[in-house]
């Protein structure tokens, strides 16, 4: 191709890029991109949704779908719902990727309505094929009732997740009720961050890479220290991981079932200490792992994790610690650490706080901040009454 032809090609491309029209679709057309579908026997149905400021734009070789859907759902079942997971699937990513929106600590009585917002963005190549169905589909994955029974296809292992959240919520509500009833207000204030509006739990950035990749030559083996809850049914014994800078690869932890029950899955919590000695609870990895009573086994992960500070700067990993976050037994029951277990596990006040912070405590702290002790009392009473309703 001659220089003149090249230049003509580049200029045409530039013009196309500049003049690519911004496509805004009317609300009824957005239905072609976004679909909400619940099975006919679902305990929740959608009674309305609003797309608000959603837009669909073309940007270079990609199409950007910015969706801000506000759904109104109704409990049409016969039991109070205490947790819900909605599955968000995009045809472009299936089956390799998907998303979900979880609402724990709901207390929605039969006939009551509640809002769920889905704020998301999908970037896809314009050239990608498109089927007749909606580009983004939202459906129910699991609904957890107050009797800890569940409904839904549970493709995302949501029942277990919702159950852990609900048990943590009950533990923390009980703890706060005890503090209130016992007049231990200074402890209550401390527990709820003194109602400080600016308090935000420690944040970190995460990147999780799955699939085969090149191993860095800078990798070093780093020992994983166990944090033990004395009364836990499963105890971590120790382990190791390959660490390079802010990357952790192939973590492995040896564990022992010290209970008399058969374990079917274990969620190992991870704590990362950075170069300044600050601990971050990085989350928990659940593994399906059948372990008989008094047996030893190990948990290993194939993926690579990259940690960064909220500013985006890589976090230097100085130390790795692990603890048993929750255990699921063969009889369907789930164990979570009690407040006493957490207190006994570590002398580090901040780490103890991080381990004890559940979604429910975060919600109650927000109520305490806005409405004070009276608001908190009222909310605890409301939830207690909701849970005591016959199923």
């Amino acid at each position: 191709m001659s220089t003149a032809s090249n230049l003509r090609f580049i200029s045409l491309t530039a013009l196309l890029l500049l003049l690519a029209p911004v496509v805004s679709h009317a609300a009824d057309e957005k239905g072609k991109w976004f679909g909400v579908e619940f099975p006919h026997d679902s305990p929740v149905v959608s009674v309305g949704f609003d797309f608000g400021p959603s837009t669909i734009t073309s940007r270079g070789p990609s199409i950007v779908i910015d969706l801000h859907a506000a759904l109104t759902l109704r409990n049409v079942g016969t039991k109070p719902i205490c947790g819900l997971t909605l599955r968000v699937e995009a045809q472009d990513l299936s089956p390799h990727g998907r998303g979900s929106v979880i609402k724990p600590s709901l207390f929605v009585l039969p006939g009551e309505e509640f809002p769920v917002k889905v704020d998301m963005q999908l970037v896809r190549p314009i050239s990608a094929a498109r089927s007749e169905s909606a580009m983004v589909q939202v459906t129910i994955d699991c609904a957890l009732f107050s009797d800890l029974k569940a409904y839904g296809p549970d493709k995302l292992n949501s029942k277990r997740t919702l159950m852990v959240y609900e048990m943590e919520a009950r533990r923390d509500r009980q703890f706060l009720t005890r503090l209130l009833d016992g007049g231990r207000l200074p402890e209550l204030r401390e527990e709820l961050n003194f109602g400080n509006q600016d308090f935000i739990p420690r944040q970190l950035g995460l990147e999780l890479l799955t699939g085969p990749r090149t191993i860095s030559s800078r990798e070093q083996a780093l020992a994983v220290s166990p944090v033990n809850f004395p009364k836990g049914p499963v105890q971590p014994l120790g382990g190791a991981a390959q660490v390079a800078g802010n990357e952790v690869r192939a973590p492995r932890v040896d564990i022992r079932n010290v209970s008399k029950l058969h374990v079917v899955s274990v969620a190992m919590g991870w704590i990362v200490r950075d170069g300044h000695g600050t601990d971050f609870v990085a989350g928990a990895l659940t593994s399906r792992l059948p372990i008989g009573p008094v047996q030893t086994s190990f948990i290993s992960e194939a993926g690579t994790l990259r940690f960064s500070l909220p500013s985006g700067a890589p976090m230097v990993i100085d130390r790795l610690m692990t603890f048993v976050n929750d255990v699921e037994f063969a009889d369907g029951t789930v164990w979570i650490p009690s407040r006493d277990d957490i207190d006994a596990a570590t002398q580090d006040y901040i780490l103890r706080r991080e381990l004890a912070t559940s979604p429910e405590e975060q919600r109650l702290a927000s109520i305490y901040r806005r409405e004070g002790t009276d608001g908190l009392k009222k909310e605890l009473k409301r939830v207690s009454l909701s849970n005591s309703k016959p199923n």
Binding site: L7, I10, S11, T13, A14, L15, L17, L18, S58, R59, G60, P61, S62, V64, V88, L93, P95, H96, G97, R98, G99, S100, V101, K103, S105, F114, P115, K117, D119, M120, Q121, L122, V123, R124, A128, V136, T161, Y165, I200, R202, Q203, L206, L208, L209, T210, G211, P212, T214, W270, G283, L285, T286, E301, G303, P310, P359, Q362, R363, S366, I367
Partner: protein, 206 residues
């Protein structure tokens, strides 16, 4: 009328003017100058007389061998002068037009490049640019091969899963706490200001 030396046409331009080989606009400009500049007029006259002499020689006024040898120095000077004029003229002809063509192409190319860059910045997502830069760095050996599996990532505004060239990002407020929630899952947790409810969003890769 005297003209500043800086404004004199070059000797090449004058030689071309003398032989009538300049383009129209330049010829007009040079003639205006020569009419008012005695020095340049003298150069032009010299070129023209040399040209006339050469033409005369070409028309048969050929020196005999003896005369040529007798007036060898004059002949040598003439020949060298002719060669210099010829070389200068050819160089001048090469540059006349080329400069303007080059200038035009350069301006056009710069304009198109600026337009292209503006289009790229305005229209192409940062992800795509990053991928292109990464690919270029890979080509020149500055970067390891790109990762082709599923990538889960947290940013200040959301958690995303990237696979098969598409990216799904579930957005959250900046106060959200990020954690991992499975071997291939990233979670963001926040309290929704409007409803007061806790919302937990997840992205999953396989």
């Amino acid at each position: 009328m005297s003209t500043p030396a800086a404004e004199h046409p070059s000797i090449e331009i004058l030689s071309l003017y003398a032989t009538g080989d300049l383009p129209f606009v330049q010829r007009f400009r040079t003639s205006v100058h020569v009419r008012h500049c005695a020095a340049c007029e003298q150069h032009v006259l010299t070129f023209q007389s040399t040209k006339a002499e050469l033409r005369r020689e070409a028309q048969g006024e050929v020196l005999t061998g003896y005369e040529a040898i007798a007036d060898w120095q004059a002949l040598e000077a003439d020949m060298l002068g002719n060669i210099r004029v010829g070389v200068a003229a050819s160089r001048c002809i090469e540059n006349v037009g080329r400069r303007s063509r080059l200038g035009f192409r350069l301006a056009w190319g710069t304009g198109m490049a600026a337009l292209f860059m503006a289009g790229w910045v305005a229209r192409v997502p940062a992800d795509e640019s990053g991928r292109l830069i990464s690919a270029l760095r890979h080509v020149v050996g500055l970067e390891q091969p790109a990762f082709n599996g599923t990538v889960l990532r947290s940013t200040r505004d959301g958690i995303s899963v990237k696979a098969r060239g598409a990216t799904l990002t579930i957005l959250h407020p900046q106060s959200a706490v990020i954690s991992m929630s499975g071997p291939a899952s990233v979670t963001a947790r926040y309290v929704d200001d409007d409803s007061g409810q806790v919302t937990i969003t997840n992205v999953y890769g396989q």
